[in-house]
């Protein structure tokens, strides 16, 4: 085909918005949405797998609940009351449920976001995505959006079953502030997820890193026990991750009788973690991206 004077071989030239412009932001938001839609289409093409994944968080929560109930022979723990400093014994079902509900979203950050790019490599579409003018982060964020929606469905199932079988003592009026804390936690987790996706790009078989980090975070977060049972050094390390302040803040709004936390301090703590994790995640992603492309190891397994 003969080239015209613009070198477009007769095709209509396409201009891509770049830089910090409204048009570029809109284009990236569209890319995030389309990436999310794509993952939903793939997931819904395997309905059995979708159902299993949606029920999985409930299945993983049950052992914590049953074990807790057998340990104390009921649902109120005086020992936990002592650790938390509440007026009345603590309802362990509500305590564990609120903790494990948040833990599911850590899985979102680590597994879904962390493996978004690696998954494209398995599908054989990574190189094609890399040559598009869209930011690679949009792909990761699209996966984050999908995974957050998916996890919300799982939490809905968890809530319905646990509420129906065991009953939950939750403060309805505390949901709104708890959701605000939750949103702040999610931003920091997204930063964490971006970091993991960079590591997966670099290490290829990043599942060990992801599984390892998830296991460590599970120990460091007050999911099924208060931080008071951890050694002092470990307790201090847990403050680096958003789950600890977020869980304490959310429980103070959601659980009746839970000691009130310094809400301002929790908000500030989470805002600082948001900024730190997002910046750190993007920075590491940026450098790994350059390094991988320079080495030419993008398509390597």
């Amino acid at each position: 085909m003969a080239e015209d004077e613009n070198g477009t071989q007769g095709l209509n030239p396409v201009s891509c918005p770049t830089g910090f412009s409204w048009a570029n932001l809109k284009a990236e938001l569209r890319a995030i949405w389309e990436s999310n839609v794509k993952v939903w289409k793939i997931e819904l093409a395997y309905p059995v797998s979708f159902v299993r994944q949606s029920v999985q968080p409930l299945v993983m929560l049950l052992p914590f609940l049953l074990y807790g109930l057998v340990l104390i022979g009921g649902r109120y723990s005086e020992a936990l009351q002592g650790f938390l400093g509440t007026v009345n014994p603590v309802d362990v079902v509500t305590y564990i449920f609120t903790g494990y509900m948040v833990m599911g979203f850590i899985g979102t950050a680590i597994w879904a976001m962390g493996f978004s790019i690696r998954r494209e490599q398995w599908f054989g579409t990574l190189e094609s995505i890399y040559v598009t003018p869209t930011s690679r982060l949009s792909l990761v964020l699209g996966m984050a959006l999908h995974s957050t929606m998916h996890q919300t469905i799982s939490v809905g199932i968890e809530f319905s079953v646990i509420y129906a079988v065991f009953g939950l003592a939750l403060n309805i009026q505390g949901i709104l502030p708890a959701l605000t804390i939750f949103a702040l936690m999610m931003f920091a987790l997204y930063g964490f997820g971006i970091l993991i996706s960079a590591l997966a790009l670099f290490l290829k078989e990043g599942w060990i890193v992801a599984e390892g980090l998830y296991s460590i975070l599970m120990i460091l977060s007050p999911v099924a026990y208060p931080l008071a049972v951890l050694p002092t050094v470990v307790r201090q390390v847990s403050g680096v991750f958003p789950t600890s302040p977020a869980l304490m803040g959310m429980r103070s709004f959601l659980m009746e009788g839970y000691p009130p936390q310094a809400v301002g301090t929790i908000f500030l703590h989470l805002l600082a973690l948001d900024a730190a994790w997002i910046l750190f995640g993007i920075l590491v992603f940026y450098f790994v991206d350059i390094y991988i492309r320079n080495r030419g190891s993008l398509g390597k397994y």
């Binding site: 059995v48 797998s49 299993r52 999985q56 299945v59 049950l62 052992p63 914590f64 049953l66 074990y67 807790g68 109930l69 057998v70 340990l71 104390i72 022979g73 009921g74 723990s77 005086e78 020992a79 936990l80 002592g82 650790f83 362990v92 078989e205 060990i208 599984e211 390892g212 296991s215 460590i216 599970m218 120990i219 999911v223 099924a224 026990y225 208060p226 008071a228 049972v229 951890l230």
Partner: protein
């Protein structure tokens, strides 16, 4: 006749040995994976130990003893975690092994070779048993050193017997899984579902008596249930092996049934897949 039998035996042993060597080479080629499976199962039960401490305020729970027979929930959870790791390695190691051969592009060659495929699977199961036992032993040593688990020499042989029986039963299930993966290609969801069934319905973290009666009925069909009851009775409650003969007998019967159906299903699926020409389909 005798010469042919002896030749067959040598050839089949060679298949098992070659498969064993191949899998061991894979294992040692990825030292990080090896270290992961040795260390991280311990991390998975630590939250339960901390939860126990927070809920009970100590290392003994009288309420727990009412159902479990022992107030020592730490040892209960640790033994549960270690034996449960055999479930993970058998389901994902052996159960998905045929699928892995498909990914590696070697499944067609394996299935078209003139040997009995059962011996290939025995080789895979054997290598998986060796690595799983190594992981379990390492975890046990760590737990003896850091969590105060006590082992007496007298229980080593009976516990070993129970573990061998557990492995046999689990590999019967893994054979069925491998057979299904030949036909349906994706057995990953089934493996996950089975893992969840074992995890929730067997007494891995809590005694079976805490489950509703319908769940206890399903639990009574799982080999892990009897293995856990027997091992805990021997190690924690210090019972004699004669006290757990019933559990061992039931475990043995379940093993026989699972292995028989496992091999039958695998051979049937292999013939079916060959006829349909869908071996190399993804």
């Amino acid at each position: 006749m005798n010469l042919s039998l002896s030749k067959d035996l040598t050839a089949n042993s060679l298949i098992v040995w070659s498969e064993l060597v191949k899998n061991m080479k894979f294992l040692t080629a990825y030292p990080v994976v090896f270290i992961f499976w040795t260390i991280f199962p311990i991390f998975w039960f630590i939250p339960f130990l901390l939860q126990g401490q927070a809920f009970v305020g100590g290392l003994q729970s009288p309420e727990f003893a009412k159902l479990a027979g022992t107030p020592n929930y730490v040892a209960f959870v640790i033994l549960g975690g270690i034996l449960n790791s055999y479930v993970l390695t058998s389901l994902y190691g052996v159960g998905e092994s045929m699928r892995r051969e498909a990914y590696q592009g070697t499944l067609d060659y394996l299935l078209s070779s003139p040997c009995n495929k059962a011996f290939i699977l025995i080789g895979k199961a054997l290598s998986e048993s060796i690595s799983s036992t190594f992981y379990a032993l390492t975890q046990l040593v760590v737990c003896v050193l850091f969590f105060g688990i006590e082992i007496t020499l007298g229980v080593v042989m009976p516990v070993l017997l129970v573990i061998i029986l557990l492995i046999l039963g689990l590999y019967g299930i893994a054979l069925m899984l491998a057979a299904i993966s030949l036909q349906s290609k994706q057995a990953h969801d089934l493996a996950h579902t089975l893992e969840n069934v074992f995890y929730v319905l067997s007494p891995v973290r809590y005694p079976v008596q805490s489950l509703p009666s319908w769940a206890q009925m399903i639990s009574s069909l799982l080999p892990l249930t009897y293995a856990l009851i027997a091992v805990r009775s021997l190690m924690l409650l210090r019972y004699d092996i004669t006290a757990v003969y019933y559990e061992i007998l039931l475990l043995f019967i379940i093993d026989m049934l699972l292995i028989f159906f496992g091999f039958y299903l695998f051979n049937w699926m292999e013939r079916r897949t060959k006829k349909s020409g869908s071996i190399s389909h993804y």
